[in-house]
């Protein structure tokens, strides 16, 4: 996924300081923004993983955030100089005197997380229906035939297949076939497994 870090702060010292701290640490493009108008250029982008470090007093309540959040995975980090304020639009707030390491860890967490997110359902058990679909996939049937055999739509078959893959952590058809054989979903006394794989 396309990843970006944006710094939105009117203080040039803070902007440059953050840039200097983050630059060597991440191989992610870091873009400094001086005012809210520059955010408008992001209204058309989508499917990015974006992290914004902002001055929450000035920028937390912009309309444009909603628009950006709809089409991207977004995290807002506020960098504030008052400990008494709460900023409900920010996902996380740091004080200006926070150790840089804490911000760096927060950023790493956000971007590392993206690599694992495809597996959030891994480990969940297959439903009875999913097992039926998996069995037919392993036997080499197309989505259309599977749909006909189970009296469901092709769309539903595809949705079952997506869930199966996420739960098992196995994506290829031949890999799913091996899983089905190892778990005795297909009877290998009747079929030679090597013909299927």
């Amino acid at each position: 996924m396309n990843r970006r870090i944006y710094i939105l702060h009117e203080s040039e010292i803070i902007q440059k300081g953050l840039l200097a701290i983050l630059k060597g640490k991440f191989n992610i493009e870091i873009i400094p923004f001086k005012d809210a108008d520059e955010l408008l250029s992001l209204q058309t982008v989508s499917e990015r993983r974006m992290l914004f470090i902002i001055d929450p007093d000035r920028f937390q309540h912009l309309k444009v955030w909603q628009n950006i959040k709809q089409r991207n995975t977004v995290k807002l980090i506020g960098l504030s100089n008052s400990a008494n304020q709460t900023y409900d639009s920010c996902d996380k707030v740091f004080l200006l005197n926070t150790a840089p390491g804490k911000i760096i860890n927060e950023i790493s967490g956000f971007f590392d997380n993206g690599n694992e997110s495809a597996n959030e359902h891994e480990g969940e058990e297959l439903s009875a229906r999913e097992k039926e679909v998996l069995k037919l996939v392993a036997l080499g049937h197309s989505n259309k035939i599977i749909a006909d055999k189970l009296f469901i739509s092709v769309h539903t078959v595809i949705s079952h297949r997506k869930n199966i893959t996420e739960k098992l952590g196995i994506k290829s058809i031949s890999g799913l076939t091996v899983y089905a054989i190892l778990n005795q979903l297909i009877d290998t006394d009747e079929i030679n497994p090597e013909d299927l794989i």
């Binding site: 990843r3 991440f26 191989n27 992610i28 098992l168 952590g169 196995i170 994506k171 290829s172 031949s174 890999g175 091996v178 899983y179 054989i181 190892l182 778990n183 290998t188 497994p193 090597e194 794989i197």
Partner: protein, 232 residues
């Protein structure tokens, strides 16, 4: 993550990421670096330093995307490198995996049917990988060579974007192979051999993903820019 430059010592590169060892070997560079810089060693071996850096940085750092200034080398260098990588896979890595899987099967005394299924899956993976390599060697690379040497003679309707098929299936299968062994197979085998086999698979996966990335982020843009130049 660190981006290496020509003034870094070659030894730093290996210390930072020992997976780069076979990559360095593919350039014909042998160990015994002393304290020479990357630039020194590349010059001694008559290797284009920018090219070397583009390759090792792409390998070391999956988010690295070489900037245009570092892409001023000929695609022929790249094809030569990719061919060497293919040979390394065919002559060294695949036989190593074959051998470990053979040992693993021998180490199983009873209930070995599952290993046979895994073996069949591995063979399937290997066949697809070899087909993919063969496709590049016989279709993609000759096209690139022809485009560089005789740009006006190639069919203007073809583009590298069509030639360069997706690598995804091969990448998916090696990942599945690892998961099937780690998660779902009964451990009816010698664990040390199995660990060795898995570690080899993990390393091979890194290498082959990087290989695909080099094709996607360096070869394809280089070739597309040549295509554009002649087709306007």
């Amino acid at each position: 993550m660190k981006i290496f430059n020509k003034n870094d010592k070659m030894v730093t590169l290996v210390r930072a990421n020992y997976h780069l060892l076979p990559v360095i070997s593919r350039f014909g560079i042998r160990l015994g670096f002393k304290d020479k810089t990357i630039e020194n060693i590349c010059e001694e071996n008559k290797i284009n330093t920018d090219f070397f850096l583009a390759i090792v940085n792409t390998f070391h750092n999956e988010n690295y995307f070489p900037e245009e200034q570092f892409l001023q080398f000929s695609p022929l260098l790249l094809v030569q490198y990719l061919r060497k990588t293919h040979r390394y896979y065919i002559e060294y890595e695949l036989p190593k995996m074959d051998n470990l899987l053979g040992q693993l099967k021998k180490s199983c005394s009873s209930g070995c049917k599952e290993l046979e299924v895994i073996d069949a899956f591995y063979k399937r993976y290997k066949t697809e990988l070899l087909n993919h390599i063969n496709d590049e060697e016989t279709r993609v690379f000759p096209y690139v060579l022809e485009l560089v040497n005789n740009p006006r003679s190639v069919d203007p309707n073809f583009s590298i974007l069509e030639y360069e098929k997706e690598h995804s299936n091969v990448e998916v299968q090696i990942n599945d192979l690892k998961n099937l062994i780690i998660k779902y197979m009964d451990p009816v085998y010698d664990e040390n051999i199995c660990n060795e086999f898995l570690i080899t698979l993990f390393r091979f996966e890194i290498d082959i993903n990087d290989h695909a990335r080099i094709e996607d982020t360096i070869l394809v843009p280089l070739v597309v820019s040549i295509e554009d130049k002649y087709r306007g």
